[in-house]
């Protein structure tokens, strides 16, 4: 697809604090390197299951994390590592989850597709497409009910725009004026299916007025712009009873998951999108406009790689969950019984 506006024009430097840019760049780089480290471990056969990488979309999670106030929530898909890293989850715990270890973010229960870190505002990575959209609306319903001032940010792929649960969740959010922003991360493909074979329209925000959601839509090539525009949508949802629908045009540079060779797109297309890559552009701006030296950039990368190497080491050295762990957490009573030293209850066994 061709993005709606001129994309080669350099973003204005005014108001772009180099230190801030460096901070955001570093955050984006942390996500990218985390994903690269995970991909490497997967290729080495050290982790298994499905692994969906966020490479190319980092600016979205980083912008979001910048804007969240205490109590705000992110609900997202199985492509969830980026949010965990951006929201401040320990990268060791994230990596350990991919390894299915006891020290993992959810103790080895969920793996890559099911990250949860409530205390960091990550209310979940959901692996059934669209299933989280009404749930996110439910979080916002509770916020309105309790008057807690929190906003829920619900992320979904463009592929999730065509399933019933999404429609119902958005519809209820609009009807009840819930404090929520739905953010479509339109990375152009649902697995191997390009947008034009998913939907009869090419602008997904056309659905917003039918739910009475505010809308905005842009190409994610600049982390500052993305942060600023997301901030507006969040502000309207928080303060003006105006739930929103935002479509972010972005790209995943890797396959849908590690098992997808991505044969359905051309090298040219990937290269074109790489020029819009917010991480690449931030680095170019730091180097060009802000005169940052190669050594300084390399030093950042080295620090970030150091963190990821530590994360991998932590994951590899962590123990497996104890066998009894599998009986915990299904019901509240399971955990209470375990705490009291009772045997787990097994219905039907």
């Amino acid at each position: 697809m061709s993005p709606p506006s001129a994309e080669t024009s350099p973003a204005p430097v005014a108001g772009r604090d180099p230190d801030e840019l460096r901070r955001l760049y570093t955050q984006m780089l942390r996500i990218r390197r985390f994903e690269e480290a995970a991909a490497r471990a997967y290729t080495q056969g050290k982790i298994s299951g499905f692994l969906h990488l966020y490479i190319g979309q980092e600016a979205i999670a980083v912008s979001t994390a910048e804007l969240m106030k205490p109590g705000d929530r992110v609900v997202t898909t199985y492509r969830d590592h980026g949010f965990a890293v951006a929201l401040g989850c320990d990268t060791g715990a994230c990596m350990a989850e991919l390894y299915g270890k006891k020290t993992g973010l959810v103790g080895g229960n969920g793996g890559s597709m099911h990250f949860f870190a409530k205390d960091h505002g990550l209310w979940g990575g959901y692996a059934i497409v669209g299933g989280h959209v009404p749930v996110a609306a439910g979080h916002a319903f509770a916020s309105k009910y309790l008057g807690d001032g929190a906003v829920t940010l619900c992320f979904l792929g463009e592929g999730a725009m065509h399933i019933g649960a999404t429609h119902e969740g958005m519809h209820l959010a609009g009807l009840w004026r819930l404090p929520i922003v739905f953010v479509i991360e339109n990375n152009q493909y649902a697995m191997g299916t390009p947008l034009r074979r998913q939907t009869a329209v090419d602008d997904l925000t056309v659905r917003a007025p039918s739910y009475r959601l505010t809308s905005d839509r842009w190409v994610v090539r600049d982390v500052f712009e993305t942060r600023a525009r997301l901030a507006k949508a969040i502000d309207r949802a928080r303060n003006d009873e105006q739930p929103g629908l935002v479509e972010l045009l972005t790209y995943r540079f890797r396959g849908h998951s590690m098992s997808d060779p991505g044969k359905y797109r051309t090298k040219d297309e990937v290269e074109q999108w790489k020029e819009r890559d917010p991480l690449f552009r931030a680095e170019a701006e730091l180097r060009g406009q802000h005169g940052m030296s190669e050594e300084d950039l390399e030093a950042i990368d080295e620090t970030v790689w150091g963190e990821m190497d530590d994360a991998v080491r932590f994951a590899e050295q962590s123990p497996h969950p104890e066998p009894e762990h599998r009986f915990l957490g299904h019901l509240v009573e399971d955990d209470l019984a375990a705490a009291a030293g009772h045997e787990p209850v097994q219905e039907g066994n």
């Binding site: 299915g100 793996g111 592929g159 074979r197 599998r326």
Partner: protein, 327 residues
Amino acid sequence: MPLLQIREALRAAIDEEMGRDDRVFVMGEEVGYYDGAYKVTEGLLKKYGEKRVVDTPIAEAGFAGVGVGAAMAGLRPIIEFMTFNFSAVAFDQILNNAAKLRHLSNGQFTLPIVFRGPNAAAHMLSSTHSQAFESFYCGFPGVKVISVATPYDAKGLLKSAIRDDNPVIFFESEVMYSVKGEVPDEEYLIPIGKADIKRPGDDVTVITWGQGVAVALAAAQLCEADGLQCEVIDLRTLRPLDDEAVLTSVRKTNRAVLVYHGWPYGGTGAEISDRIQRLAFDHLDAPVERVCYEDVNMPYAENLENLVIPSPERAAEAIKRIAYVRV
């Protein structure tokens, strides 16, 4: 005889039936241009075109319902669920439409439709992606339910399912698509509702299906060391159940163990166990045992998943227990 993978046997069945009857078409996510998430439909788009190999958006309730409507209007849809976990989203279409419309219309409509795809645990996909659905789909009238474990059965039964005039739920497995076996060149059909003895034996009847078959056969192997000969029955069709095959074997061995992927509470395993105790009570020398998932949501961690899923060792233990072999 040529050796085919299960995925190739399934593809051959679809291909032959599409060639034979132009009302047969395939619909689902990534079945066309992507050649199938698990490559079952590879090459079919090229051969039959977009009209008959239809890629859908992610909209299971939508395309399952479209399949139902098309079947009522005379087509013969094969609806692929990328995995049966996602059929949960379309459950209403199967439960309230596919299974009921013939009865509601007092026979005015027939619903020749197949819902197929991988079922049950694969490997380290955690709870939302590891579920065995036979207990749900066997739990109501108006559908037939099949679960295959070999390329030969896969082809013969899928062909029968496509030709059947009723809704058929057809279970495959992600971890079994590459399993190879002999499949004859010439056309054949396997009747729905007939179990198959995968290994004859006199001492203990082991009843299984789907991913359980390999586990049961491995367990039978383990038990041989203790001088126990297991008869392994692959049900192949779960609804209607082949009572006769099960009862004939149990009357001979006087002992039965069920080995399957799925939760223990209720469902298909419990149903079979109930039939055995009711219909062969006088022949039983031991309680009927079930070796299945533990009653937990599937964990991601490999060491835990291995404990939850039935293993040959766990199955062998149960077999020996009811054969009163000291272990």
